[in-house]
Symmetry: C5
Subunit: 131 residues, 5 copies
Amino acid sequence: AAPAAGDFVAASGFAPNRWVKLNVGGQIYATTIDTLVGREPDSMLARMFLQNGSMKPSERDEQGAYLIDRSPRYFEPIINYLRHGQFVCDSNISVLGVLEEARFFGIFSLVTHLEERLGQQETPLGDRPLT
Amino acid sequence: AAPAAGDFVAASGFAPNRWVKLNVGGQIYATTIDTLVGREPDSMLARMFLQNGSMKPSERDEQGAYLIDRSPRYFEPIINYLRHGQFVCDSNISVLGVLEEARFFGIFSLVTHLEERLGQQETPLGDRPLT
Amino acid sequence: AAPAAGDFVAASGFAPNRWVKLNVGGQIYATTIDTLVGREPDSMLARMFLQNGSMKPSERDEQGAYLIDRSPRYFEPIINYLRHGQFVCDSNISVLGVLEEARFFGIFSLVTHLEERLGQQETPLGDRPLT
Amino acid sequence: AAPAAGDFVAASGFAPNRWVKLNVGGQIYATTIDTLVGREPDSMLARMFLQNGSMKPSERDEQGAYLIDRSPRYFEPIINYLRHGQFVCDSNISVLGVLEEARFFGIFSLVTHLEERLGQQETPLGDRPLT
Amino acid sequence: AAPAAGDFVAASGFAPNRWVKLNVGGQIYATTIDTLVGREPDSMLARMFLQNGSMKPSERDEQGAYLIDRSPRYFEPIINYLRHGQFVCDSNISVLGVLEEARFFGIFSLVTHLEERLGQQETPLGDRPLT
């Protein structure tokens, strides 16, 4: 999906409102609806938070954060990608773990990028799929 | 154990209810009963949380999280495996540490996988069992 | 930008007041206005917190911390740079991730430094931009 | 010290009571008295928490956790060792740091094991004692 | 500075009182005044917390922790050094980052040690000072 209109607002990082909290597997992330919706309008998160989105938002925890039953560790590069459009991750992080989340959240430009990366390099032992 | 019926629901990640908190060694994990029960119906966590399970759930802390006296660090790849069926972990993480938890929680498909991995590679000094 | 007058105060680290909390992507950072303003008076953070700054501070969360929709992980070397003027980061941290934040916050002396570093070394696979 | 009677209970991980919280240098660990007492009955932690132990437990913080003025990072492999009797730690963790804690807490089987490990390998620069 | 009288008490780790909380850049550390004062009586922390010390303690946050506008990551080896007199840090941690904090806090025995270490080894790219 190409950058959409919301993208400009998300890139400012200081949008004056529309803050949401996500509880991803027990860890709290603070972000804006513009970030969740702007870069990948077809992703699961966009469909949850778009004004007339095709998905209902998930349940909220006691502090109002939307509950998502996924890995917080591998969500971090996902949300950063939605913030600025670059994939960055530390050298010890499992790219396969990030790919799994990119697929789950339906962020297809990132899925393609990560599959290419994993194809280019000798898959390390720690990154081999189980099956 | 093969994927069970609950698996489909767990894979959606946004099941509308049945959220639980686990306090693993002091760290809070948020997940769903579907995740705990669906993929490995014979595991200790499944038996604790199945409707007519063979184990009583553990005690809860002051915020209602089920207390588990185990390592939070090595539980992370365990719960991710229950979420999506892949074993992923970062390159610095001790696979022996994850194996120890997989055995404890009775997740036998993962135990087999990790034992094979540890057998294939020269066990690094940091991963040698103590005895 | 060269060190400014506020720099001396920031370097003491124990300025008797003017503490602020930043909520960067869900993680709380405690710092002083002197740190945010002193070293890089033209940066976005300085313009937000200078007494007659050209930007309005962002919204605050329920505990009064200023909300910033960016990566907490890569903000850490940024705030440390503002504290003492050195760029330090651990060997596993993605320098590209820090560069992305330095650009966003408009800390141009650091941008130049990081671009030179990334140019000097063979860009590792994990640090290649997506586009 | 050989495994004691309490060991069996600790190994179950779901003992129905006797939960304690430890505040180690600012970080909260949740565990059971069985874990603290069972595997190393002569350790400092066992002597603090045994019913007629030779040491008085330390002070408690405002949420009731026992305060311990030591490193939380290197306590983690210590408490895991008390939980299951294996020494596991990630590849980047300083073994010298863990050894320092094992000595402090008087867990002598682990001290012996770690000293052997450090003797076998070329001590890396980061692990050389200061003196 | 040689170990002082307070040293003995600090080494016990379970001093019955005089607990303090430090809020270092947003992260809470729990320690004792004996640790802060005992090993390096001339350091900034000692001068802040000695009964007739030459510095006034810094401001406190809403939970009573003393605010320090510095990096929590690189403070960790500093406080551990004050606890037991050894410098230990993980293999991925930037020694330059720790050195910067040792200088700030005026812990000169550690500064000397770290400068020697950094002089001995080829300075890695990530550890080169900015200027």
